[in-house]
Symmetry: D2
Subunit: 330 residues, 4 copies
């Protein structure tokens, strides 16, 4: 039996990670931590989890069990990950602290890294693209929600070396903004509204660029996120100017080659909607060629809290501990 | 006193046009027509209008008064516009039947035109761009909702001749899909969802291309609409690859030159949201330069039923009858 | 292995029943039927089910397997239930056709019964109240959504004989109105709105009265439903004028005696919200005494499509086939 | 010209009061105050107001003009109202500080009153019921949102002396909870949810009881509010046990006598919905008799921020300054 702690279990993603692990056939959810809510039960704070565990204040001597899912904010995650790793705990980190590989870029977007000795040591945990590395990893950097959707949508084109240019227009539900009450997340601000945000640069931009580069597509991208009046769900619409002409059949083959055997990718023709992947680890992808401009327009839909965070963390844990990749996720 | 009929007054846009004209200081709302709902009062079908008129079956001998707003579906509008024009009635047509100037393009996207003798005779009624022609017009083709937002956002760049390429990602509330109950407009389908639609080509694409061409930007565009879970509101995010380098100051000047004196255009810096222009004739525009790619990203927000349809029709009527352009709209 | 057919699998409740049975450890989902959508796969019509079965036109010779969940409209259900029963199939019927025991009341509210020979032979399948009878039943009438919430909330008081009078104010999400597109279920009608409906009498009224009577509380009730802008979820607020004075402790004991060991009833203190039981078979109940009037106010929250329909059907199937009552439902 | 200050102009109700007064034909909006947002323009904080005034820190020497609308929280309002009154300014106060007439009840529900010398001197400003007193008043206590809807719905019955007992089930949009970001008003908490709140007693209960008493119905009531996932709108469903039998005709006459000539009350038959009075000063009322219990069920719908607060304040100002009651409100 493998014991797992979830650190930061009252955030939306942490709570779902705890919920999935509590019902997982292999892992045992040993601890869930939270600071302000310590002493309460997780199912009182988040009834839908139905996890009757009492929230505890993090204490490495107690919570460094076999594995941990760290659901702390960027910056706060790094030092606690370092503590856990020093204690031998294998970690899936939901923050951005171990996703980037260029220290200057990290510091520029997130501020000075708090555990520099570990910087760059995380395996980027997008199993459909990095399955082999995740399998043996001790520290997995769980991808950002937008990068998950964007990279899965673009990977077949990136690997084929045909992305000449790309604009990524992304749309997310309000849970992506986190659980802290703010004017932006107030019902009255978000409801009946749609607006772009972080229009001068969103931190997921360098992450997408880095991983596109790993796939062979080294180019600057345009990425623009928008906030929508719904709870969970993220749709990426990626406008690709191909660097070479591609027939319909060639595109079909590229996507089939990448995803026909993937358990969590659903290739579709026609529009995809985020409701169709709600509360799941699935990513739905479709694409269309625009005959008037030659562009390839790729649609990619996920649940930002599941495939974009918590369930993908469990998918990574499954791989790290040599379990069936879909265990506990279907 | 100038009498106006609204034809098709139970559609969302027709009802708002009636509501605005009923309270207009100059125009007199003389008739509102509807077929299935004839005999009912408009304020029973659409309480928010608070227009206590009885809906009538259209009869040109009765309803061809000084002016008419025609809120019929595409195809159905043309013959009735022809009838009205033959009777001397000045018309603002909300359909697409008189927007396009290339007959082949119209027939290709909408089917054979039903009043070919009038084809191409409508003045495109986007006052911020075509004010002078609207002023003397007898037949004004009210722009589509997406073209209104897209063209207002892009016009300063188009007129300056600096649009090298453009991708238009558009997001609309459900009222844009019309009042007929369908699976797509069912609450359960639209709520908590976002998806693209008409991914193989939306009819507003040639309309936007045509009017960009009038402004000097002749190029094929990529246009992709998305359906959002909200009532009214439309956000266009336009990604422009400039054909020439533009400084921040030059961009500021382009937009100021176009819009600083426009009563219904609100230039902003930072994100714009559709809730801020809800139930108004305003269009909010902001833009940002993406330093990593050089792209100019333009945001343009309107209420699809107001500036995108009904209130713009009244703005056009004001111009046609030599009234202050903002009369009845502030 | 016990094979189950779901008849009417494209309605919201039928689709969820199919989804639950497809993943059930004991039952095998053998067939899902639908008329207009026959030939399509259920997961194309309802992606969230992820049931890859092809929808078939109902044919009793093929679909009368061990058991069936019938998700037909009232009136349409009775004859097909009769066919299934004649073939020896055990049935859970989601319609009202076998819930009532007084034929005159049925005919008055629903029209003439279509399988009179079977009328009154259904066991009312609210396991928390009728578990013993469901266990051996061949025909179970699955309760209506409102009766489920109302009866669970009121049963402890009804059994104690202390309901002097009761007003039931009920609030439901839009899925309760069914999948057919209508003006009432159009996004624009339901969103940002709340209104009562069926104000001259809702069919669930006699059903609640009948079952309260079974519990010992024979009295006319006031029941008023309201439509809310959300997908799934039903909240019943029941205002009980007690016929005898009850102390706080006595009330605590009444509810504990009824529900402390129930796997699907969650007794709470404080407000309950429908989101907390979304997509589950749970019913959350709390109550408060109003010191100024002596009233007992009971809150009862369910998911109308789950505990109010589909998952309760599976709970009933579990009992009918002597399986653990929670199997496939946690 | 009569100058008006709005104090507390960044709350939802204060902002709408400013918006209405800025466009009012008679009043001049002289000042809008706010503490944290001082120096910003109101239309930057609340774009929909389109009031380009700069928010100022309250200073009685500057802002005690002819009249003031005070939109402060309970408790904070009383001392500033006292200052304004001392300076001769006529006041409409949106808080509860001057609504109650029994000091013990006020202190019990709100804490010790902060301007006891003025306690009880406010005229209760529900024009349909207290028009004559408002006309000459210097200090008007604007009713709470729930009392406005409940009292308008019940007044004809209360005046006729036929209310034997009443249960008031009330449902409100999220704006009623105010603009401060909290867990309860977070989009993720409120969306797709409905729950009761303040189940141990809501402060509007004694206010409703007091004013029912003024109308002749002295009785304890049961009042229970619920939070709904929508922006603005409040529906009261009042279940009245009549103390005498009333025919349909008698009820029609009672309601007609009270409201047939009221400009802001819309008597309807059939269901009423809050969307129908959104952004207006109207109250829609309908009722139905429950033949099985004899109860009269009254439905009353308002916009909680308009008729429930800001527009009713303007209606009161119109009366105080001898203007047409509907001026600036249609």
């Amino acid at each position: 039996m493998v014991e797992v702690s979830v650190l930061g279990g009252v955030g939306y993603a942490g709570a779902i990670a705890a919920q999935l692990l509590y019902r997982h056939p292999f892992f045992k959810l040993a601890h869930v931590t939270a600071r302000a809510e310590a002493g309460q039960r997780l199912d009182d704070v988040h009834p839908r989890t139905r996890v009757p565990l009492e929230l505890e204040i993090f204490d490495v001597s107690k919570h460094a069990v076999d594995a941990a899912v760290v659901a702390y904010p960027h910056g706060a995650a790094a030092p606690v990950v370092a503590e856990l790793r020093a204690a031998g705990t294998r970690v899936v980190d939901l923050s951005a602290d171990f996703r980037l590989r260029d220290r200057a870029i990290y510091d520029d977007w997130y501020g000075e890294h708090k555990a520099p000795e570990l910087f760059g040591q995380g395996v980027y945990g997008l199993p459909e693209l990095t399955r082999a590395q995740v399998a043996g990893a001790d520290l997995v950097a769980n991808p950002g929600c937008y990068p998950t959707a964007a990279l899965l949508g673009l990977a077949p084109l990136a690997k084929a070396g045909v992305i000449g240019d790309v604009v990524i227009d992304a749309k997310s539900g309000v849970s992506g903004a986190g659980r802290a009450p703010t004017h932006a997340t107030h019902f009255i601000s978000a409801n009946e509204n749609v607006s772009p945000y972080k229009i001068n640069g969103h931190r997921h931009t360098p992450e997408i660029e880095q991983e596109l580069g790993v796939l062979g597509a080294t180019l600057p991208i345009t990425f623009m996120p928008h906030l929508l009046p719904l709870d969970q769900g993220e749709l990426v619409t990626a406008y690709v100017t191909p660097s070479a002409e591609l027939s319909e059949d060639e595109l079909v083959n590229l996507y089939d080659d990448s995803y026909a055997r993937e358990p969590f990718v659903e290739l579709r023709t026609g529009p995809v909607g985020v409701i169709d992947v709600r509360d799941t680890n699935f990513c739905r992808i479709s694409w269309v060629q625009d005959p008037r401009t030659g562009r390839i327009i790729v649609f990619s839909a996920i649940d930002n809290l599941w495939k974009g965070a918590a369930s993908q963390a469990v998918q990574n844990l499954n791989l790290m501990f040599d379990r069936p990749e879909t265990e506990g996720l279907l």
